[in-house]
């Protein structure tokens, strides 16, 4: 063994030992008590301290994870999904299993159902239009059609129907994140329980005006007549402010209410065609 090798070993070993000893004592002396989960998460992370996550190093990222209520935006590029699922399990943040849900737009005020009474010429967002006035039709509750919900959906699950001007949900793409629900200033979108075969029976209206007013504004408005309410055998329908509402958790898809609604405000979707009165079925298949 040459002398260089000896020097090498000695030098490096000394540096290594010195580093270890000093670090150990410094760590002991300057200990700070913290949430122990930060340590756990930190350990599960790669420790590359690359900043790729956008935080100042792994520990900062660990702290952010511990603080966060949801790990959605937090991602470690080095560790990838595997690491993130470990972190999630440490923090007990795995997604709670919920009934699958899907968004539904409760307005069917298409152009032919709802005559225009004025035309809007301003910034074309629902949020702004709704802050100015009630909408281009006589219905102050209906969809404005400027597509804030469309913009909000990150999953391409909403399309603005080119003819009706009303958004439509593509059920299979919707992950029920609720972004559209928050975006709609008219509160038209609801996350409803996903039924077998995507079947739906919904009051597609939010108009709380009295019957006459509502009817005048829109031919398919709910006029608050309570017929469906009386018809429903499962108590799934409630009436409030001249408006019927079907609770998707209670609805058994019997479709009796659809039959009695005088205005066609209750909509059924994805059912096989009925034998009688086939013309009542609405063309509601999502385009695209």
């Amino acid at each position: 063994m040459s002398i260089t090798v000896v020097y090498t070993i000695v030098t490096l070993a000394v540096i290594g030992a010195a580093a270890a000893v000093i670090l150990y004592f410094v760590a002991q002396k300057f200990k700070v008590i913290e949430d122990p989960r930060i340590d756990d998460v930190d350990e599960a992370l790669p420790g590359a301290n690359c900043g790729g996550c956008g935080f100042a190093g792994c520990r900062a990222f660990a702290e952010a994870c511990v603080k966060a209520s949801e790990l959605g935006d937090l991602n470690c590029p080095v560790g990838g999904n595997e690491t993130m699922s470990n972190v999630a399990s440490i923090l007990g943040l795995e997604a709670v299993k919920k009934d699958p849900r899907v968004a539904y737009i409760r307005c069917n005020g298409t152009c032919d159902h709802r005559p225009k009474t004025s035309s809007f010429d301003g910034a074309t967002t629902c949020a702004i239009a709704s802050s100015v006035y009630s909408g281009e039709s006589g219905c102050q509750f209906g969809c404005l059609g400027y597509g804030d919900c469309f913009d909000a959906c990150d999953f391409d699950a909403i399309v603005m129907h080119p003819e009706t001007g009303i958004p439509e949900i593509i059920d299979d793409k919707c992950v029920a994140c609720g972004a559209c629900v928050d975006a709609c200033p008219k509160d038209l979108i609801e996350l409803r329980k996903k039924m077998p075969k995507n079947r739906k029976v919904v009051v597609s209206c939010r108009n709380q005006d009295k019957g006459g007013v509502a009817r005048k504004a829109c031919s398919v408005a709910c006029i608050g007549c309570s017929k469906c309410f009386k018809e429903c055998p499962f108590d799934a329908i409630t009436m409030e402010n001249n408006l019927a509402y079907i609770d998707s958790d209670k609805c058994k898809l019997c479709r009796k209410c659809v039959a009695v609604c005088p205005t066609g405000a209750i909509i059924e979707e994805n059912f096989p065609p009925r034998k009688v009165k086939p013309e009542e079925k609405k063309e509601t298949e999502p385009v695209n």
């Binding site: 290594g16 580093a19 270890a20 670090l23 150990y24 350990e43 992370l45 790669p46 420790g47 590359a48 301290n49 690359c50 790729g52 590029p77 080095v78 560790g79 990838g80 595997e82 690491t83």
Partner: protein, 194 residues
């Protein structure tokens, strides 16, 4: 785990440069030509491979608190080995890669893989992982270096493609590195979407 998937992920899906955006310094610094990119990529691959193997071998013998320093020492050792070997056998390439060879030691990918993968998996998978990621890195460097070389000096692997009078010099200089990588990542993002 499917070993092929484990190996091939580094090329596109988890490409350290285009997707994970790690190890950017050598990526930008040495890619003024394809050959430099290749040299740097292979050097890094070697370090990745070897350190992954060694780390996965010794993982259980290392106490938690000193795992990072220990890993760094292991990586630095292989970096120095690469350094010495290149100096001895390919001095010209070593010279043109300059500072960036010792800097492999701080390349996030290397430590990252050691920590995230090798310290949790067996030797075989760790080796494949290291090789895959390393070759993915090499691929990115050669691609970037090739594009820059063609645009900026009219050559590829030193073979002249068009006369020097028509080259757009900026591509072999610092700004060109940023700009080409920017558009490359955009392109790859787009490809990944489709």
């Amino acid at each position: 785990m499917n070993q092929w998937k484990n190996f091939s992920k580094g090329f596109l899906k988890e490409n350290p440069v285009f997707v994970l955006l790690l190890g950017m310094c050598p990526t930008l610094g040495v890619t003024s030509s394809a050959i430099n990119g290749l040299g740097m990529g292979l050097a890094t691959t070697f370090v990745l491979l070897m350190s992954n193997i060694v780390v996965s071998l010794v993982k259980s013998a290392i106490p938690e608190k000193v795992r990072i320093p220990a890993f760094i020492v292991i990586i630095a050792t292989f970096v120095t080995i690469v350094q010495l070997t290149m100096q001895a056998f390919v001095p010209a390439l070593y010279k043109s890669l300059g500072l960036f060879i010792p800097l492999i030691v701080v390349n996030c990918i290397v430590l990252g893989r050691a920590e995230a993968f090798a310290s949790k998996n067996n030797v075989g998978s760790s080796a494949i992982d290291g090789l895959g990621i390393g070759l993915g890195f090499t691929f990115a460097l050669v691609l970037l270096g090739g594009i820059r070389e063609i645009l900026g000096s009219g050559k590829i692997f030193n073979i002249t493609i068009y006369p020097e009078n028509y080259v757009t010099l900026v591509f072999v200089l610092a700004p060109g590195a940023f700009i080409v990588l920017g558009y490359l990542i955009a392109l790859i993002n787009r490809m990944k979407k489709n």
